[in-house]
C-alpha cells in the first residue's frame, strides 16, 4: 500500500528539479467561472446545447411548472385565511425544480429539502398530500406507493448524508439507480453536508447534489453565507465535478442534470450542480422579507421569471399561444382547487395516532403511556 502523500512528494521532487517552485506557483487558484445558460431571459435558446425533447415533453414540463406555482399561490391564500400552516413557498424556483427532476427515472431516488413542491408533484406526491402535511397532518408524510422518495427534511442539510447512504447501498447491491438530493445555499454551510460530499466522492456514491442557490437563507444573502461568489466552487475541493447553471433556465437544468445522472449511473460518482435562482416569495409565511431586502432586487428577478421565459420559448416553437397558456393555467388552477376540496374532507386531526410507528411493536412502557394518554383524551371527550 502506498499513500497519497507518498506519491505527492515524488511530484514535489520533480517540481523542485525543474527549479520552478515558488510560493506563488504553489497557491491553488480557481479560474473565472461561467454559468451554463441555454434559454435566456428573452426565451431564446442555444439549440446547439438544448436537450432533445419531444413536444409532449416540453408541454408536460410547462404544465408542471405552472401547476407548481398555482399550488404555491393557493397555499399562500389558504395560509392567510387561516386554513394552512406555515409553509415555504417555491415561487420563482419552478425551473430549478422541474429541471432537476425531469431526468430521473421512477426507480431512482429523491431526497428533497422542504422547498420542493414542484419536484415532489412530478415524482407522484399528491397535491392534497402536500396540503395535509403542511397543515400539520402526519398522514401527509406518507410516501405514495411506488415512489422512491424520502419525506422532505425540515432540518437543513440533515437529509444529504442519507442520500449518500442510499447511493452507497445501491452500489453495494449492484443496482443501477441514482439518487438526487437538493438543498439550499444555507445548507451548504452545514458540517454534515460537507461530510456527505466527502463520503460521496470517496465511495463514488451515485448522487446528484443540487444546491438551489436562491439568494437567501432566510435573511442571510448568499454573499454572507460564503466567501466565494459561487457555491459550485465547493465541489472540486472534495473531488466532485461541479457546474453552475442558470436555475431559471429549465433547459439548462435538464442538460446539467442529465449529464450528472449519466455519470452517476456509469459508476463515476457524484456531481454538484449549483442552480442559480431566486426566492421570489417569503422564506416561509412567518417571514417578512421587507426587513432584509429591497423590492427593487425582487423586480430585477421578475424579468428572469422561469415560466414566462419558457412560455416565450414554446411560443417561438409554435407549441403555445396566449389562449393555450391561459387554458393550462386554468386547468392547473382547477386541479389545485379540486385538491383543496379533497384536503378539506381529509383534514381531520387524529390525536390517537401519535403513538403509531414509533417502533414496529410498541414496548410495554409506551403501551402504558398510550393508555394514560387515551384516558386523557377520553376525559376531554376527544376522539
Amino acid at each position: 500500500m502506498t499513500t497519497a502523500s507518498n506519491r505527492h512528494l515524488d511530484t514535489a521532487a520533480r517540481a523542485k528539479a525543474s527549479t520552478e517552485a515558488t510560493v506563488r506557483k504553489n497557491r491553488i487558484e480557481l479560474g473565472e467561472l461561467e454559468n451554463l445558460q441555454i434559454l435566456d431571459e428573452n426565451g431564446e435558446a442555444d439549440e446547439a446545447f438544448a436537450p432533445r425533447l419531444t413536444d409532449e415533453q416540453l408541454l408536460r414540463i410547462h404544465r408542471a411548472m405552472v401547476l407548481t406555482r398555482k399550488l404555491d399561490l393557493r397555499m399562500l391564500t389558504m395560509q392567510r385565511q387561516g386554513e394552512m400552516g406555515t409553509f415555504a413557498p417555491g415561487f420563482g424556483q419552478e425551473a430549478t425544480q422541474i429541471g432537476q427532476i425531469f431526468p430521473l427515472q421512477a426507480r431512482d431516488w429523491f431526497a428533497p429539502s422542504y422547498r420542493s413542491f414542484g419536484a415532489q408533484l412530478w415524482r407522484g406526491w399528491t397535491l392534497e398530500g402536500l396540503l395535509l402535511l403542511w397543515d400539520g397532518f402526519a398522514e401527509g408524510f406518507a410516501v405514495p406507493d411506488g415512489v422512491n422518495d424520502l419525506p422532505f427534511s425540515i432540518v437543513v442539510g440533515s437529509h444529504v448524508p442519507l442520500a449518500v447512504g442510499v447511493g452507497m447501498a445501491i452500489r453495494q447491491c449492484g443496482d443501477d439507480a441514482v439518487v438526487l438530493t437538493n438543498f439550499g445555499d444555507g445548507a451548504i454551510s452545514q458540517g454534515c453536508v460537507n461530510e456527505a460530499f466527502n463520503f460521496a466522492a470517496v465511495y463514488k456514491s451515485p448522487v446528484i447534489f443540487v444546491v438551489e442557490n436562491n439568494g437567501y437563507a432566510i435573511s442571510i444573502p448568499t454573499e454572507k453565507q460564503a466567501a466565494t461568489a459561487e457555491l459550485a466552487r465547493r465541489g472540486p475541493g472534495f473531488g466532485i465535478p461541479s457546474i453552475r447553471v442558470d436555475g431559471n433556465d429549465v433547459l439548462g437544468m435538464i442538460v446539467a442534470t442529465n449529464e450528472a445522472v449519466e455519470r452517476a449511473r456509469a459508476g463515476d460518482g457524484p456531481t454538484l450542480i449549483e442552480a442559480v435562482t431566486y426566492r421570489m416569495s417569503l422564506h416561509t409565511t412567518a417571514d417578512d422579507p421587507k426587513v432584509y431586502r429591497e423590492d427593487a432586487e425582487v423586480d430585477r428577478w421578475t424579468i428572469k421569471d422561469p415560466i414566462t421565459r419558457f412560455e416565450k420559448y414554446l411560443t417561438g416553437k409554435g407549441l403555445l399561444d396566449a389562449k393555450a397558456a391561459e387554458q393550462v393555467a386554468g386547468e392547473c388552477e382547477q386541479e389545485v382547487l379540486a385538491a383543496r376540496e379533497r384536503f378539506r374532507h381529509r383534514a381531520k386531526a387524529r390525536p390517537r395516532q401519535v403513538f403509531d410507528y414509533m417502533y414496529e411493536q410498541l414496548p410495554p412502557w409506551l403501551e402504558r403511556q398510550k393508555r394514560e394518554y387515551f384516558e386523557k383524551l377520553d376525559r376531554k371527550g376527544v376522539e
Binding site: G85, T86, Y114, D135, G136, F137, A138, I154, V155, V156, G157, G186, A187, S189, Q190, G191, C192, A217, I218, S219, I220, K224, Q225, A226, A286, D287, V291, Y292, A349, R350, P351, Q353, V354, F355, M358, W365, L366, Q369, K370, E372, Y373, K376, L377, R379, K380, V382
Partner: protein, 331 residues
C-alpha cells in the same frame, strides 16, 4: 431610574436585557442565524445591530456547530458571547461543541480559560410549528456536567435571568419558552431583579401538595392550582424551578417535606427527564415525609406530534388536576 418599570412581553424583556448588558459591557456580543438585520426570527435581537453594529451583532452562516464553537473561542479570548440557536431542536447540530468544549474548557485548561457565554434558544411546543421545532430536551443539558441550564417562565424573570446568565462566569444554556414569548406582559423593572442562578421560586404557598414546573408549563400549572383551590378546596404550593441545573434541591425538599405529596410537570420526554431527577432527590432527602407516589405529568416518550394534535400531547391544567387528585386520594 431605580424602581422604574416597563410593561413588556418576554421577547421585549429579553431584548431589553441584551441591550442593557451590551451597552454596559463591550465584551458582550451576539451571534447566530438571522440575529442581525432580521433581528432574529422571533425578534429577540431586534434593533441591536443598528445600535451595536455588525462587529458585535453577528449574522452567521447556517452552521450551529460553528456558531457554538466560535462563541466558545470568543469566550476563551475574553469576550462574553451570547449565541442564539434558532430552535432548540438544532442544538443537536452543536452537541459536540457544547459537551466537549463549552462545558469543559474551564476544567480542561485548569481554570485558565473559563467559558462565560450564554447559549440562547427557544424551546417547547404550542406554536403550531413543523417537526423539530417544538422539542423540549433540557434534560440532555442537565445530564451534561459543566453547564448551567436556565429556563424563565415570564417576562420579568426572563429579564432578570438573562442578565444573570450573561454575567455568570460559567456557560449557561438559556431555554426560552417560545409559547410564552408574546403570551402576556408584565411590569418589568428597568433594573433587573436580583434572581440568583440556582434558586427556585415558590410562586404560591400551600400545604396540601407541591406542584413543580418551569418555563411554559408554569401557566397550566398555576391554572391547575387555581382549579384545585376553587373546585376542590386544595391548597397547592407551586414551585417555579427557573434554574434546571444546578437545581435548587433545598427548596424542593423543604416544600415536599411539608406537603408530603408532589406532582411534577414538564413538556419533554418522561424517561430520564427532569421530573425523574426531582423524584430521585426527593426520594433521597424527603423519603420519610412522602405520603404518596410523586406524579409525573410530562411529555410522552414519543416524537413531538404534528401540530394539529399537539394540544393533546402537551400537559394541561386538567391533566395536572387529575394527577393532583390521585396523589391526594392516595393512602
Amino acid at each position: 431610574m431605580a424602581g422604574a418599570t416597563t410593561s413588556l412581553n418576554m421577547v421585549e424583556a429579553l431584548n431589553k436585557a441584551l441591550d442593557q448588558t451590551m451597552s454596559a459591557d463591550d465584551r458582550v456580543c451576539v451571534l447566530g442565524e438571522d440575529v442581525g438585520v432580521d433581528g432574529g426570527v422571533f425578534r429577540v435581537t431586534k434593533g441591536l445591530i443598528d445600535k451595536y453594529g455588525e462587529n458585535r451583532v453577528i449574522d452567521t452562516p447556517l452552521a450551529e456547530c460553528a456558531i457554538v464553537g466560535t462563541a466558545v473561542g470568543m469566550a476563551i479570548y475574553g469576550q462574553r458571547p451570547v449565541a442564539e440557536i434558532q430552535f432548540s431542536g438544532f442544538t443537536m447540530q452543536a452537541f459536540d461543541q457544547i459537551e466537549q468544549n463549552m462545558a469543559r474548557f474551564r476544567n480542561r485548561s485548569r481554570n485558565r480559560y473559563p467559558v462565560s457565554m450564554v447559549l440562547r434558544t427557544p424551546y417547547g411546543g404550542g406554536i403550531r410549528a413543523v417537526e423539530h421545532h417544538s422539542e423540549s430536551r433540557e434534560a440532555y443539558w442537565a445530564h451534561t456536567p459543566g453547564l448551567k441550564v436556565v429556563i424563565p417562565s415570564g417576562p420579568r424573570n426572563a429579564h432578570a435571568l438573562l442578565h444573570a446568565s450573561i454575567n455568570d462566569p460559567d456557560p449557561v444554556v438559556f431555554y426560552e419558552p417560545k409559547a410564552v414569548y408574546r403570551a402576556f406582559r408584565e411590569e418589568v423593572p428597568d433594573d433587573p431583579d436580583p434572581i440568583e442562578i440556582g434558586t427556585a421560586s415558590v410562586v404560591r404557598e400551600g400545604d396540601d401538595l407541591t406542584l413543580v414546573a418551569y418555563g411554559a408549563m408554569m401557566r397550566p400549572t398555576l391554572e391547575a392550582a387555581d382549579d384545585l383551590a376553587e373546585l376542590h378546596g386544595t391548597n397547592a404550593e407551586v414551585i417555579d424551578l427557573l434554574t434546571i441545573s444546578p437545581m435548587d434541591t433545598e427548596t424542593l425538599v423543604a416544600s415536599v417535606s411539608r406537603t408530603g405529596r408532589c406532582v411534577i410537570v414538564h413538556e419533554g420526554p418522561r424517561t430520564c427527564g427532569i421530573a425523574a431527577e426531582i423524584i430521585a432527590r426527593l426520594n433521597e432527602s424527603a423519603f420519610e415525609h412522602l405520603l404518596a407516589p410523586i406524579k409525573r405529568v410530562t411529555g410522552y416518550d414519543i416524537h413531538f406530534p404534528y401540530f394539529q394534535v399537539e394540544e393533546h400531547y402537551l400537559p394541561d391544567a386538567d391533566t395536572i388536576v387529575e394527577a393532583a387528585k390521585e396523589t391526594l386520594a392516595y393512602e
